[in-house]
């Protein structure tokens, strides 16, 4: 039915539900909301298609009741709604299609209650991540949730996509921090989940909605746990000859029950990036621009080109680049792999934990590099994202893939993905988000082609190849970026028969299929 209603008619109908300034069909709004940060959308953008499928209307609810009314209207007209927070997702989860209505939740961005005595906070979904941490910090509290998207992402987006922050090893992922939700289902029902404390009352309905990416309900409020802001942070860097040795060190201290906030093991090439100059660090692996800068410096006789031309030319020969990274570069630099470990909390406890980890790492063959690598990482922990622009401006593309598995399959997974995509794109990785039972691998790949259309084909080929390799190697296809559109073809392999359970829930909670359809293989 939705397609039979004109854009103007939809806007008029929505204008009778909401205030005028809560509804827009202006061209710049429809273009701006036509994509999130899925790099495939950026390649399309570079091809001159900034909004291949813009939404018909954008709306800004201000209350839960507004959301209820929107859902009722959408169910009545069978018009799909696409919940939208910061639009920072990288899997196309917030990308609409023609005929759909984007529901921007950023006007619901208040802290409703900061419950200090019980270390809880009730917050609306549109709260910006950085602002949230700033406000909590003024009360000496923290969520401990620091995704690299923190400047642009929202609390609702974190919950919808099962986000992880840079300190997740200590504080957990967002699903470990949430104790309750208010959700509007596809039938317009308002469901409140959670209990004052731990409960033995059947399934945990909160977790049903976390990670559902707006397909089962629209999150309108969350109750989250908060913790005292750390009084001290201790960082230490270690060198290893091989990735496998670094992984063994992490496994050992994680299985001793130690809980560092930061654990990052960079593979050989990533180490070169992580230890080089300002503006690098964190997920800097991404930073092909740095990569190329370093390569250009180290291999000057072989790479006489500079900047844009060098980047494009080099990325067009991924096999050569990967061989260089695997073989020649570590020999040239002699750096091996870098492990950064950080602990935090009360000073004596943080130091004691750091000391205990230090013993374990040295016992596993690590070389002590002192505090500087970690301090460098902390200083530049968000810098990496700034580098994306340079890669796309140069005609290339860059993306990241975060997968996970248990310790016994980690190296196999790492090698399988690298081997599979090395002929197509330049690839590197670091290991972070560690658990007693396993760890996540954060791959960064960068490629280039002669024109954006070829770039799109290459991009799709890389993802299909990489995800197939992950599935074959027994890994999970997403640790914290979510599924959206980009990974949905692999949901069957990932979930098996459980996917049907998900689809059944969808039919119960959203019988008209109006909530973010076309995502997550639903």
């Amino acid at each position: 039915m939705a397609d039979t209603i004109s854009i103007e008619a939809k806007a008029r109908q929505l204008g009778s539900i909401l205030k005028d300034d809560q509804v827009s069909i202006l061209a710049p709004d429809r273009v701006a909301y036509s994509r999130d940060l899925w790099p495939r959308g950026l390649i399309e953008f570079s091809a001159g298609r900034p909004a291949p499928s813009p939404p018909d209307v954008v709306v800004w609810p201000e209350t839960t009741q507004d959301v209820v009314h929107l859902v009722e209207w959408a169910a009545g007209t069978e018009t799909p709604l696409v919940p939208y927070g910061g639009g920072s997702g990288v899997c196309g989860g917030a990308m609409p299609r023609r005929g759909q209505v984007v529901v921007d939740l950023k006007r619901m961005d208040r802290i409703l209650e900061l419950d200090g005595p019980n270390h809880r906070v009730r917050v609306q979904p549109g709260m910006n991540g950085w602002t949230f941490e700033e406000v909590l910090g003024r009360s000496n509290l923290t969520m401990g949730h620091f995704p690299s998207s923190i400047f642009c992402s929202t609390v609702g987006g974190w919950l919808a996509a099962r986000s992880a922050g840079q300190a997740s090893t200590r504080y957990g992922k967002i699903e470990d921090m949430v104790s309750g939700l208010e959700v509007v289902t596809g039938k317009g029902e308002v469901i409140r989940t959670g209990n004052p404390g731990a409960a033995s009352l059947g399934p945990d309905w909160t977790q049903l909605f976390v990670g559902s990416e707006g397909t089962l309900g629209i999150i309108t409020e969350a109750t989250l746990k908060v913790l005292p802001a750390p009084e001290m942070r201790v960082y230490r860097g270690y060198g290893f000859d091989r990735v496998s040795a670094g992984l063994e060190a992490i496994r050992r201290f994680m299985q001793k029950g130690l809980l560092p906030s930061v654990v990052r093991l960079y593979d050989e090439f990533d180490t070169v990036i992580a230890r080089s100059g300002a503006g690098r660090g964190s997920e800097a692996d991404t930073l092909v621009k740095e990569v190329m800068g370093r390569l250009t410096h180290l291999t000057k006789p072989m790479l006489p080109w500079v900047k844009v031309a060098a980047l494009r030319a080099a990325l067009s020969k991924p096999g050569w680049l990967n061989k260089l990274a695997d073989g020649l570069l570590p020999k040239l630099t002699g750096q091996g792999c870098l492990l950064v470990v950080g602990t935090e909390g009360r000073p004596r406890l943080a130091q004691a934990e750091a000391d205990r980890i230090h013993e374990e790492v040295l016992r596993a063959g690590g070389r002590d590099l002192g505090p500087r690598p970690g301090e460098h990482w902390e200083k530049h922990r968000y810098s990496v994202s700034f580098k994306q622009s340079g890669v796309f401006y140069s005609g290339g593309f860059v993306d990241t893939m975060e997968v996970a598995t248990t310790w016994d399959g980690l190296l196999r997974l790492y090698e399988a993905v690298k081997t599979a995509v090395s002929p197509l794109v330049f690839i590197m990785a670091h290991f972070s988000h560690a658990y007693p039972e396993g760890c996540s691998i954060y791959f960064t790949f960068a490629g280039s082609s002669d024109d954006p259309e070829q770039g799109l084909k290459l991009y799709d080929q890389v993802w299909n190849t990489a995800l197939a390799a992950v599935t074959r190697a027994g890994g999970t296809i997403s640790h914290h970026h979510g599924v959206g559109r980009s990974k949905q073809a692999f949901m069957v392999e990932e979930h098996g028969d459980s996917l049907e359970l998900f689809r059944m829930l969808k039919r119960v909670l959203d019988p008209k299929e109006i909530l973010n359809p076309g995502k997550m293989s639903l």
Partner: protein, 361 residues
């Protein structure tokens, strides 16, 4: 169009929205199309012809306070507001500027004429001395919205024994910032040339408007216009004579708000704070201060284009003193006083000149 900024526009267009959290307009509107990344992406698309520059698309260029906080945060130092002001000029050239800015130049000149007359009514004629070496130029918003502060400024000069400053005798009370911000570049160039000719008759000119200090010092030269006179903000000048000001501490506590053009753009942070400290026992800092200070919402003609947005920005800025139970905010810009004052019903928002004057012994 916008060829000088091809790389800047593209870099922002491909950026993962890393400065959205500091944009005052973006935070007030909470609309994806007016965060810095999106505004620049629109410029990028208009430049390469992906979209045609209609009034709708051009409108986003005018949702910018020119505060510069995005640039402060950007690791590429992209001068977003400078690019957007250039994009505004493109919009004006094509006649697709917002309706509220149609015929803006005519209104600018009409307002100027009105303010010239008003200024002569505010202070005694003996302050207008043509042969003076040092002149005081109050500026539009001070004359229009804080008219008492003109005489108060002159009183402060006198109290410090400064008798060599006259009010600039001119038929042009503005440095032209509004024309530059509105994208009326040919009119701006004309005003800049005229104003430069008048200013150059002095050794030093003391301005009350930070935006015009910035404009004269840094924008005029980009238009090939140079001013020989030393141009300073009134807080910078008062700071040099503060030791002679017979003032005492009469205010318990006040927050100091950094005007964007005085602070981030001109780097003047300490003089107004020192002045406030002369008469205030506790000069309190916003959590976001100096280089990181939030905008009041009054700059960039946002109050003309989106008055509710400008008010929302001001209300957000005043949340902190409100929550702290402090009833006084002092700043050093009449535009800030105006915009914050409109939003702060229970808050006293005043210029540093007014605060000092109140404490004259």
């Amino acid at each position: 169009m916008l060829d000088d900024f091809e790389k800047e526009l593209a870099y922002c267009a491909y950026c993962p929205k890393l400065c959205r959290h500091v944009c005052p307009v973006g935070n007030a509107e909470r609309r994806e199309s007016v965060i810095p990344q999106a505004k620049m992406a629109m410029g990028h698309m208009a430049r390469n012809g992906t979209v045609s520059l209609t009034e709708d698309y051009a409108s986003v260029f005018f949702y910018c306070n020119g505060c510069g906080l995005c640039t402060e945060f950007c690791e590429h130092d992209i001068p977003v507001s400078e690019v957007l002001f250039e994009a505004r000029a493109e919009a004006v050239a094509r006649g697709v500027q917002p309706k509220t800015l149609q015929n803006f130049a005519d209104r600018f000149y009409a307002r100027n004429e009105r303010l010239v007359r008003k200024l002569h009514g505010l202070v005694d004629e003996h302050y207008f001395v043509e042969e003076a070496q040092v002149a005081y130029m109050p500026g539009c918003d001070l004359i229009d919205d804080s008219p008492d502060d003109v005489q108060k400024t002159l009183d402060l000069f006198a109290a410090a024994g400064v008798d060599y400053v006259s009010i600039m005798e001119s038929d042009l009370v503005c440095g032209g910032y509004p024309l530059w911000a509105a994208g009326y570049q040919s009119e701006f160039r004309h005003v800049a040339e005229e104003q430069a000719r008048r200013l150059s008759g002095y050794r030093k000119v003391i301005l009350a408007c930070p935006a015009c200090v910035y404009t004269i010092r840094h924008v005029y030269p980009k238009f090939g216009v140079n001013v020989t006179a030393e141009v300073v903000h009134v807080s910078e000048f008062l700071d040099t004579i503060a030791h002679r000001l017979p003032v005492k501490q009469t205010v318990q506590a006040a927050y100091y708000h950094d005007p964007c053009y005085l602070g981030r753009w001109l780097g003047v942070y300490e003089p107004p704070r020192r002045l406030a400290g002369l008469v205030t026992r506790k000069v309190l800092e916003f959590a976001h201060n100096r280089e990181q200070a939030d905008c009041c919402g009054g700059g960039g003609l946002v109050p003309d284009v989106a008055p509710q947005t400008a008010s929302a920005i001001a209300e957000r800025r005043l949340e902190e003193p409100n929550q702290a139970g402090v009833g006084v905010v002092v700043t050093a810009c009449a535009t800030c006083v105006k915009n914050l004052g409109r939003a702060g019903r229970d808050m006293e928002v005043l210029d540093i000149v007014s605060l000092l004057h109140r404490s004259l012994e």
